[in-house]
């Protein structure tokens, strides 16, 4: 097996990590960097619990090799809050009761953040479409969708 030393930026911090060739980005975040907010739900790119931002784009971190991440910039759920202030999608998920067991929540938050970054005024369909890769077994989804809608409105007002 091959071993690699990679340098990457995670939640704004520069990290140097030694990894093996078969290690996924998800495993590296959880096992090497103690960023356990990103969850492993299926290890096959289906459930979305491991979603992170990689160079600004939402990806399933179980479907990315750590070795590919040399030079990459990763944002996980732990990196959403800025200066102790929660991201607006974190706030609206709390306010609208869109969190139950919380296991899908980190991935949902990242998908929502990625959506609003690329499309600040999504339609209801666009929100549901963007979240369709994040399985949730507790909430029934509608409160999550509503929370993203409200987050977009708040950001729209702030931006105006």
């Amino acid at each position: 097996m091959s071993y690699h030393r990679i340098t990457l930026k995670v939640n704004g911090s520069l990290e140097v990590v030694d990894i093996s060739g078969n290690m996924t980005l998800l495993q590296m975040l959880r096992e090497k960097l103690a960023l356990t907010g990103t969850k492993n739900g299926c290890a096959s790119g289906e459930c979305g619990a491991c979603t992170v931002l990689m160079n600004g784009d939402a990806v399933n971190s179980c479907m990315v090799l750590a070795a590919e991440c040399d030079g990459a910039e990763i944002i996980t759920v732990e990196g959403l809050a800025k200066n102790g202030e929660m991201d607006v999608v974190q706030k609206t998920l709390v306010d609208l009761g869109a969190v139950q067991c919380g296991f899908c929540t980190p991935g949902v938050l990242i998908s929502a953040r990625a959506l609003l970054n690329r499309n600040p005024h999504p339609t209801e369909f666009e929100i549901r479409d963007a979240l369709s890769g994040n399985l949730c077994r507790c909430t029934g989804y509608n409160r999550i969708v509503e929370a993203v809608k409200v987050a977009a409105e708040i950001e729209g007002q702030e931006g105006a």
Binding site: C42, A43, G102, F103, S132, G140
Partner: protein, 783 residues
């Protein structure tokens, strides 16, 4: 001042935010797999049976032990004792025979997961194949091979009735009135057989457990579990560990829905740890293993016959249920008992004959699943009631209203039911849906229809399942409440904080209920199942808070020379109704109160203790199912959907759904609604998509690729929920449970809507686009 303001406010009935939400949106919440164990951590993988039914002739693992990094291999030889919640029929590893595909026959412990995985290939197991039982009706017949020859030796409580010498692990009967005499009185009779497949719980967090045994005899298990105390009890007994030496730590869990109740895979690392002391050993299931090696919701074949008089009054029902219990029914036998005593559904039927039979098969192991048999039962009952209403020519809603249970009705078990708000629930859903009003579809190639179904469910548990709680006062006025019930996402920690704050008389913000549950420090709780915590643990918390309150008031009464009855606690202050004097409780609940003139002290640290156990549930006669009180209570409700079906593909779009449930008292209305919404969608997902495709005993779709669940795009954009409150006499503030119930009626309600839309009765879920289209094709609705 603060006291006057607080006296009018009440936190019970308020939608406060959930107590555990901040950590969950920041990634800080710690789940079991998130705990770091350092370099000592070892990993466990399981050698599994590829056969549904076979004798184990020989296991050779010599080669596995030679692989560098492999520390230990354990097999069934090492652990001869049984384990099980109700019927003790299961070993930790298969011993003489395997009974389902995926059953563990050995486990490897190694320094890494990869090495353990590799070592599995170096274990040779020699099998002698046996004929598998793949159908519950066949399994119950005389022709079927016997799966558990030792059934008669298995321990079980007195309310489970195995039939020795057969595959029937439980046969629950009701004989009430005389159905044979009733049939000739009926103006309409409908008979139908419904089949409901196995489904999986699909928590997004897979099962994970870490165990460590110490040289001094202490054993610790960290697990994603709904049942730390039940796991301690069952594993302690099976592995001969004193309960006092066995510690189960249960952090937050990423969804349970029943599959993390009782004991399943947690037994494996604990057993291994006993043979390799001093190191933590971890077993994390893959998503694929999650699908077929753990509890499934049992399959069911339900044969129903029901009749009514010319005015639509139900006269009789015969209900024969063959439950596909799977290879072991240690937990599942009680699902079939619950299916039995609730077998009428929420209907008043004078003549009832029920046979609820739990059958061993060589399928995945059946266990608890949100609803505990009720979704399967109601799939049949909820449809056949619509069929009978149509046959007698009565409006379906009117038929439900005429026949649904009401307070004072004598149920099929002989129990007299408490007041229930079911008629109000039906009314609310019918109005919200505009039931009976035919509405136009959105396009010419669509068919539109509406359906409703009712539900009831009682907490299914041993009659004496108990709860306890501790209320610990802090010197800054805050309060820690310790409980043994688990936060699954349902919000129980929040509801308990509300109950404690209200009962004690302190602000809600002052009360903390936090995990992890730790059997060493947390008070006892039977299990987090059965929608029983708000009610049972809520009673324990209320009792503990009242105990603390009494202790507080006694101190102040003595200090002020007043009677405790004249004192109260409001907003964190003890007040006297007589003298209007007040004192903030934080000033004395830890350090006590000084007596006058420095003549000593009163009081001391305040800890309130409370427990609750229902003492009034009675046994039921083995032959007739009759008894004084079969269950503690029933939560009832109704649910309906407005749907469209695409004639080109058969695909359903749910346009709107409404649910109404009588929760007694909503401690936190918004979280009650969250349960109604989430439960409905989980039920809808099972109704539209879900099925463990079992072929020759093997699950063909054990991954998210081919076991699809509903996503954000599949659910109705609008879901309305209605809370009905008919107080429960033995519930805290009148509350009863709601966690499972919203899932119970969905399949039947959807089936009824499909019929309303198409005129074609499709009875067996899942109602996939394919199944609907092919049925419409056969019926000539499409061509």
């Amino acid at each position: 001042m603060a006291i006057a303001q607080a006296s009018t406010s009440s936190v019970v009935g308020k939608s406060v935010k959930r107590i555990d939400v901040q950590e969950k949106v920041t990634g800080a919440a710690q789940y079991t797999d998130d705990i770091a164990f350092g370099n000592a951590l070892h990993h466990c993988r399981v050698k599994r049976s590829p056969h549904p039914h076979a004798l184990i002739k020989k296991i050779n693992y010599d080669k596995a032990l030679l692989i560098p990094g492999v520390k230990l291999v354990v097999t069934g030889e090492d652990f001869p004792e049984y384990v099980g919640l109700y019927l003790q029929d299961r070993n930790i590893f298969a011993r003489d025979r395997v009974r389902f595909v995926g059953e563990g026959v050995a486990a490897v412990v190694a320094s890494t997961e990869e090495i353990a995985e590799k070592a599995l290939d170096a274990i040779d197991v020699e099998y002698e194949l046996l004929q598998p039982v793949l159908d519950p009706e066949f399994g119950a017949s005389k022709e079927a091979p016997i799966i558990h020859p030792d059934l008669e030796k298995y321990e079980h409580p007195n309310f489970i009735f195995p039939v020795n010498g057969t595959n029937m692990a439980n046969h629950f009967k009701i004989r009430k009135g005389d159905t044979e005499a009733a049939w000739p009185q009926c103006a309409a009779i409908v008979e139908h057989t419904f089949r409901i497949p196995q489904v999986q719980h699909v928590p997004i967090e897979p099962h994970v457990a870490i165990a460590k045994a110490e040289e001094n005899g202490q054993v610790t298990l960290w697990a994603s579990t709904q049942s730390p105390f039940a796991q301690r009890a069952l594993l302690a007994k099976s592995l001969h560990i004193p309960e006092s030496d066995f510690r189960v730590i249960a952090p937050l869990i990423g969804g349970g829905f029943g599959c993390k109740a009782g004991v399943t895979m947690e037994a494996i690392p604990v057993a291994a740890a006993l043979k390799l002391k001093g190191v933590p050993i971890k077993l994390l299931l893959t998503r694929e293993e999650e699908f077929y090696t753990n509890f499934v919701r049992q399959g069911l074949v339900i044969k129903l016959k029901v009749g009514c008089d010319k005015d639509g009054n139900l006269l009789a029902m015969e209900n024969t249920m063959y439950w596909d219990g799977g290879a072991y029914t240690e937990y599942g036998v009680n699902v079939t008992r619950a299916g039995g005593y609730s077998s009428t559904g929420p209907y008043d039927i004078p003549n009832m004959r029920t046979d609820s039979i739990c059958v061993y098969t060589n399928h995945p192991v059946g266990g608890a699943y949100r609803g505990f048999g009720m979704a399967e039962l109601h799939t049949g009952v909820g449809q056949i009631m619509d069929m009978l209403a149509d046959k007698i020519g009565m409006d379906r809603t009117e038929f439900h209203l005429r026949n649904c249970v009401r307070g004072g009705d004598v149920l099929a078990t002989g129990m007299v039911i408490h007041e229930v708000g079911l008629p109000e629930c039906i009314d609310k859903v019918a109005r919200a849906l505009k039931l009976g009003e035919k509405e136009a579809p959105s396009a010419p190639n669509k068919l539109r229809g509406k359906g409703i179904a009712l539900a009831w469910k009682a907490p299914a548990m041993p009659p004496n399942a108990g709860s306890s709680a501790l209320v610990k006062m802090n010197a800054d006025g805050t309060v820690n409440v310790s409980v043994g019930g688990q936060e699954l996402g349902q919000g129980t920690f929040t509801a308990m904080a509300q109950i404690a704050a209200e009962s004690l008389g302190v602000p809600y913000e002052a009360v903390k209920v936090l995990g992890p549950i730790d059997t060493r420090y947390s008070p006892y709780e039977w299990q987090t199942v059965a929608s029983r915590l708000t009610w049972s643990m809520g009673n324990a918390v209320r009792n503990a808070a009242l105990d603390a309150k009494k202790k507080i008031l006694d101190i102040v009464a003595e200090a002020w020379n007043e009677k405790p009855e004249d004192l109260d606690i409001k907003d964190g202050y003890v007040i006297s109704y007589k003298t209007e004097e007040s004192i903030e409780i934080k000033d004395f609940v830890v350090y006590g109160l000084p007596k006058a003139d420095d003549q000593g002290w009163l009081g001391g640290p305040i800890v309130g203790a409370g427990s609750f156990m229902p003492t009034y549930v009675t046994g039921l006669d083995a032959e007739t199912g009759q008894g004084e009180r079969a269950v503690v209570h029933y939560t009832t409700g109704a649910q309906g959907l407005d749907i469209e079906i695409d004639k080109d593909t058969g695909r359903i779009t749910v346009l709107y759904a409404a649910s109404a449930f009588d929760v007694g008292k909503a401690i936190n209305p918004d979280m009650v609604r969250q349960q109604m919404e989430g439960g409905f969608v989980q039920g809808l997902s099972s109704a539209m998509f879900e099925e463990c495709q079992l072929v020759g005993g093997e699950m063909r779709n054990p991954s998210f690729v081919d076991y699809r669940i509903a996503t954000a795009i599949d659910v109705p954009e609008k879901i309305d929920t209605f809370i009905v409150e008919t107080a429960q006499d033995d519930g805290p503030f009148g509350a009863r449970g709601i966690g499972e119930h919203p899932l119970v009626p969905v399949i039947a309600a959807l089936a009824n809507a499909i019929y309303d839309a198409t005129g074609v009765r499709i009875t067996n879920p899942p109602f996939s686009a394919e199944k609907i289209y092919m049925a419409l094709l056969e019926a000539g609705v499409v061509n």
